[in-house]
């Protein structure tokens, strides 16, 4: 299922682009709503190649989300695209009242999540979107780790009846999955077995976690890596099993340590199987614009920071 952490990086946005075009071509009810970021999110492919399925909603995210709710009541499956920051923070009341509570079949794709948003800085980054979306009843929250998984979760969301939030990143990431990978809602994916500690990661932080695990392996620390593409619903059994088999957990996400994957995992551990745990994420700080590697370093979410957390959590065992 898993290919090795390859040097070949494929853009999540390209995968999104191809997949959404195909969905609009294959399903008469799939329409794309753009908050005027089509060239950034790369859904401009639909405007160019299947223009009847492309609805420009302008720079007005609140109206876009409420209108998507109205469209969904007529049998259309609206796919809304903007930056994660604007979905999670600008239009969240609309999403809660008119999409999540009524359980309407609206797909929300948040591009440019996390810190690495192409030098755009704190207005365009989303470090809170997982926390916000997973607190809404009825909401499914997904964060794929590579281009293949982007395609798979989008295909899943298309088949699923109800609101789905998909968290995507701007840049290209190493390929982790081959095309016969099968995404399952609420299921974790074990990418690497290990005995001493389990890293549970999501989205873009999964490839950094694998990198960390490989470095640690060279130092004689045996680390399991469990990827969590489905943050809500979350795979409780996988978390409990990881606690039982390795006795210590590190979570890793390109998100605030408040309310995200780390919190979701901690909620399960505290109630079901308390073991030593550390969270890698942005530590309750505002961020800034800057080059990727420097951002990962300054905000303490690089693979080295994940490796460091593993060493620290080992001391607590």
């Amino acid at each position: 299922m898993r290919t090795l952490l390859s040097d070949k990086k494929v853009s999540m946005r390209d995968a999104l682009s191809e997949t959404i075009l195909k969905l609009t071509q294959e399903d008469e009810n799939v329409y794309v709503l753009d908050g005027d970021l089509a060239t950034s999110t790369k859904i401009d492919i639909v405007a160019n190649e299947n223009p009847d399925k492309f609805l420009q909603m302008g720079i007005a995210e609140q109206n876009m989300m409420s209108a998507a709710a109205g469209l969904a009541t007529t049998g259309i499956q609206p796919w809304t695209f903007t930056f994660a920051a604007f979905l999670a923070k600008r239009a969240i009341d609309q999403i809660q009242v008119q999409i999540a509570q009524p359980n309407l079949n609206v797909k929300m794709v948040g591009g440019y999540s996390g810190l690495l948003t192409g030098l755009t800085g704190k207005t365009h980054q989303a470090l809170e979107d997982i926390a916000i979306f997973r607190s809404l009843a009825n909401m499914v929250v997904l964060a794929p780790a590579d281009a293949t998984e982007v395609k798979k979760v989008m295909e899943f969301a298309h088949q699923y009846e109800g609101p789905v939030y998909i968290r995507l990143a701007r840049d290209a990431y190493p390929t982790l999955f081959s095309d016969n990978y099968n995404f399952e809602l609420g299921k974790a994916v074990t990418l690497k077995e290990g005995a001493d500690v389990t890293i549970i990661s999501t989205g873009t932080q999964t490839s950094r976690s694998l990198e960390a695990a490989e470095k640690l392996e060279a130092e004689g620390i045996s680390v399991a890596v469990v990827h969590m593409p489905s943050i809500k619903p979350i795979d409780k059994e996988a978390i409990i099993k990881a606690a039982e088999t390795t006795g210590a957990i590190v979570t890793a996400e390109e998100h605030s340590i408040i309310g995200g994957l780390g919190s979701a995992v901690a909620e399960v551990l505290v109630e079901e199987k308390p073991v030593p745990m550390l969270r890698v994420g942005v530590k309750d700080r505002n961020s800034e614009s800057g080059p990727n590697e420097q951002m990962l370093e300054k905000y303490e979410i690089s693979s080295n920071h994940v490796a460091q957390a593993v060493k620290e959590v080992l001391k607590k065992k």
Binding site: G58, A60, Q62, N63, A67, A69, G70, T74, I76, P102
Partner: protein, 283 residues
């Protein structure tokens, strides 16, 4: 008499409007909670929509081809609930459950539990956008239903209303009719003194015209004018219509009329009796 409306129909609409207002006052008094001024101003338009204009059937509340209605000023839900009950969506007796635990008649409309509701609303500015989505959906799916939406003048202070206005205009949604319940008062508002409040949004017709809408201004308590406006909206092509319905907050009960104090006040037993008397006398 307009040839759009027979004498019998006009009489029916007037009677239903009085019945609806009595039920609004009863329901709020019974529940000991709820809004009253805004619902009373909205009643005539709502009755006209459900008993004259819209193609809806309580027996088939989810019919794909039914006309849609969105109460964007969701806090006036109690008015809509009385109209839906009178129309036969559920027993009138159910109004007594308003605002209580497990009731389908939530303080603000919940489309999941109450038949006849086409959208959940309550957070202002959102309903009109959903109505835009419905009207756009009808165009995309080649369905010929029409979408109606009522907004408040206080609600029009929400920026989202104008986002919706812009997009509806761009998509030429001539199957969309928005009715502005222009009762000229909001919950508290602003003004020089407590009793003289400024209108929430000045010159609404001009604003909507600037956004490219067909604007019709009427007396929102006159069923002949309401009927004519809704009928005229059907003849307009290439743009959405807004009906600026000039109304009176608290309409029908003298001591509730034109005062922001009755935005969400519950009548005492004595006030309730007086209100019912006035409504029955057809004040």
């Amino acid at each position: 008499m307009s040839n759009l409306l027979s004498e019998e129909k006009l009489q029916l609409l007037k009677e239903k409007s009085i019945e609806s207002r009595k039920l609004v006052v009863h329901t709020v008094h019974n529940a000991g909670a709820g809004h009253i001024g805004g619902p009373m101003s909205a009643v005539d338009v709502l009755i006209n929509l459900y008993f004259n204009e819209m193609n809806v059937n309580p027996e088939d509340a989810r019919d794909e081809n039914r006309d849609r209605f969105v109460l964007s000023k969701g806090h006036s839900a109690v008015a809509l609930y009385t109209v839906l009950a009178l129309k036969g969506y559920y027993p009138i007796k159910e109004l007594d459950t308003f605002d209580s635990m497990d009731s389908r008649l939530q303080a603000h409309p919940d489309m999941n539990i109450l038949p006849g509701l086409d959208m959940s609303t309550g957070s202002l500015g959102q309903g009109i956008s959903a109505a835009v989505g419905m009207a756009l959906g009808a165009k995309l799916k080649n369905l010929d239903f029409r979408t109606y939406c009522m907004i408040g003048d206080g609600e029009s202070q929400e920026g989202q209303v104008w986002e919706a206005a812009d997009v509806a205009s761009k998509y030429k949604l001539d199957n969309l009719v928005v009715i502005l319940d222009n009762n000229k008062l909001q919950q508290f508002g602003w003004g020089e003194n407590y009793d003289e409040r400024e209108v929430p949004v000045a010159n609404p017709g001009e604003r909507w015209k600037a956004f490219g809408w067909n604007v019709i201004e009427i007396d929102g308590h006159d069923h002949v004018e309401i009927t004519k406006a809704l009928s005229e909206a059907r003849t307009v092509s290439g743009k959405p219509t807004i009906i600026v319905a000039n109304t009176v907050k608290g309409k029908g009960v003298s001591f509730m009329e034109n005062t922001h104090r009755w935005h969400s006040r519950v009548p005492t037993d004595e006030e309730f009796d007086n209100a019912v008397q006035e409504l029955e006398a057809g004040v």
